[in-house]
């Protein structure tokens, strides 16, 4: 397996607080990595760095992608996802629209929604973002990531604030993604998710301020 990410002496600082200090970290293409550790150990910070949302304060992070814009190969599902003030269809297909795709949106939408466990896709497509429950929002947000077929799927505690049914649907969708060869890196405290998704466990220690 070829190397996808390599990080050395990665440090991230917010003001006077050191949020992450990681000597070395590497992920291979198609690998599944579970980031574990206590609150404040830098799991979310590491995911944000891997998603190129932030630049590290110190150290280096190398991404060996497919040669295009790395931001279009990597996607991150936030712990509390944000949905745009649109209906479910527009939210889920947004990634494709941003890539200039206008054809086949309906079939891609249907496939992504089925993957996250929605059955009545037609009704769901018209629903407004505000009418969704927490679990539905998380699944819709995951569908919006799955539809773009990312090289890397980053998940920040995807089941921490959803009911058991939604958690199982999310697990199943991510397992499907893993079986397709997508690199998945997820942060979690949920032992059930760890058991369901498996992968190499990377434990992050507490970071001193």
């Amino acid at each position: 397996m070829s190397e996808l990410y390599r990080a050395r002496n990665l440090v991230q600082v917010y003001g006077a607080v050191t949020a992450l200090s990681l000597a070395s970290f590497a992920v291979n293409r198609g690998e599944v990595v579970a980031l574990t550790g206590p609150n404040g150990s830098g799991k979310s910070t590491l995911l944000r760095l891997l998603a190129f949302l932030e630049k590290p304060h110190a150290g280096e992070l190398i991404f060996h992608g497919n040669g295009g814009d790395p931001r279009r190969e990597v996607t991150l599902l936030l712990q509390e996802p944000y949905l745009l003030k649109e209906n479910v269809f527009r939210n889920v297909t947004l990634g494709l629209v941003l890539r200039g795709k206008t054809k086949g949106l309906s079939s891609a939408f249907e496939a992504a929604m089925h993957a996250v466990g929605f059955e009545d896709v037609e009704t769901m497509s018209r629903r407004s973002f505000h009418a969704l429950s927490g679990g539905e929002k998380q699944r819709v947000a995951l569908a919006s990531r799955l539809i773009i077929h990312p090289t890397v799927l980053l998940l920040d505690e995807p089941t921490s604030s959803v009911d058991a049914r939604s958690a199982r649907a999310i697990e199943s969708a991510v397992r499907g993604c893993i079986s397709c060869g997508t690199t998945v890196i997820y942060a979690t405290h949920d032992m059930a998710l760890l058991k369901a998704l498996g992968g190499r466990e990377q434990r992050l220690g507490e970071v001193s301020a």
Binding site: L53, T75, E80, Y82, K85, G95, L98, I148
Partner: protein
């Protein structure tokens, strides 16, 4: 109290027979307000986005100026624009004084800080996860700006309606820069002021009634936008 009832009766008569002076004042008011709002929106939207979204030296100072201009007295705006467009002023050669375009300049100056400050505030208040979500879905920098503006569309609509309400009811700028010329630059507010001062309550009430109707529709629009924004 008789003049009240007489005023109302005359107001109805004027509205019923579509009095040309009344209709002209309504037309001038609405057209100058609409054009000035378009100009202010064209300048204020990118400016507000820049002030709310980008971090650069002097941003806070510019925000402070923009916020201060919200309380700018309309007569002072009228005075400044007057100084520029009067025959002896730097823009005097264009003959803008006592014309609708001259009024439009002043009204646009009135609406500009309202739009700039409110858009900047809306951008600042926008959930930071919106930007992160767009980035993680692969938005380019240009798409990020466009999608953020789209996400703020209800806020922008609210700002427009508020600015419209402020400009349409304004009297100082319209008087100083328009000159209150009948069938040319007379607006509803300047007409009300003039007719009332001349004891012509009928036309004043008729125009006041239309102004009230406009305010009513603006409020209905605001309620609708607020409701949609929550959806």
């Amino acid at each position: 109290m008789e003049y009240f009832s007489q005023g109302f009766a005359k107001a109805w008569a004027l509205l019923w027979c579509m009095d040309s002076a009344t209709i002209s004042a309504v037309k001038v008011t609405l057209s100058s307000t609409f054009i000035s709002l378009c100009i202010a929106l064209l300048l204020g939207l990118p400016l507000g986005f820049l002030l709310g979204y980008c971090h650069f030296p002097g941003r806070r100072f510019l925000r402070l100026i923009s916020d201060t201009l919200l309380a700018f007295p309309t007569v002072l705006i009228g005075l400044i624009v007057y100084a520029f467009i009067t025959r002896r002023g730097p823009l005097g050669e264009f003959g803008l004084l006592f014309t609708v375009p001259g009024m439009v300049i002043g009204q646009a100056m009135l609406a500009l800080p309202i739009i700039t400050s409110w858009v900047a505030q809306s951008v600042e208040n926008l959930d930071k996860r919106c930007r992160e979500t767009l980035l993680t879905l692969g938005a380019t920098n240009g798409q990020l700006v466009l999608m953020t503006i789209r996400e703020l569309r209800y806020d922008v609509a609210m700002v427009c309606v508020t600015a419209f309400g402020r400009v349409v009811t304004e009297v100082g700028i319209a008087t100083m820069l328009g000159g209150n010329i009948r069938y040319a630059t007379r607006t509803m507010t300047t007409a009300i002021a003039l007719e009332t001062s001349q004891g012509e309550f009928g036309q004043g009430i008729a125009l006041g009634f239309i102004l009230l109707l406009i305010a009513f529709f603006i409020n209905i629009l605001l309620v609708g936008i607020r409701r949609r924004g929550r959806v």
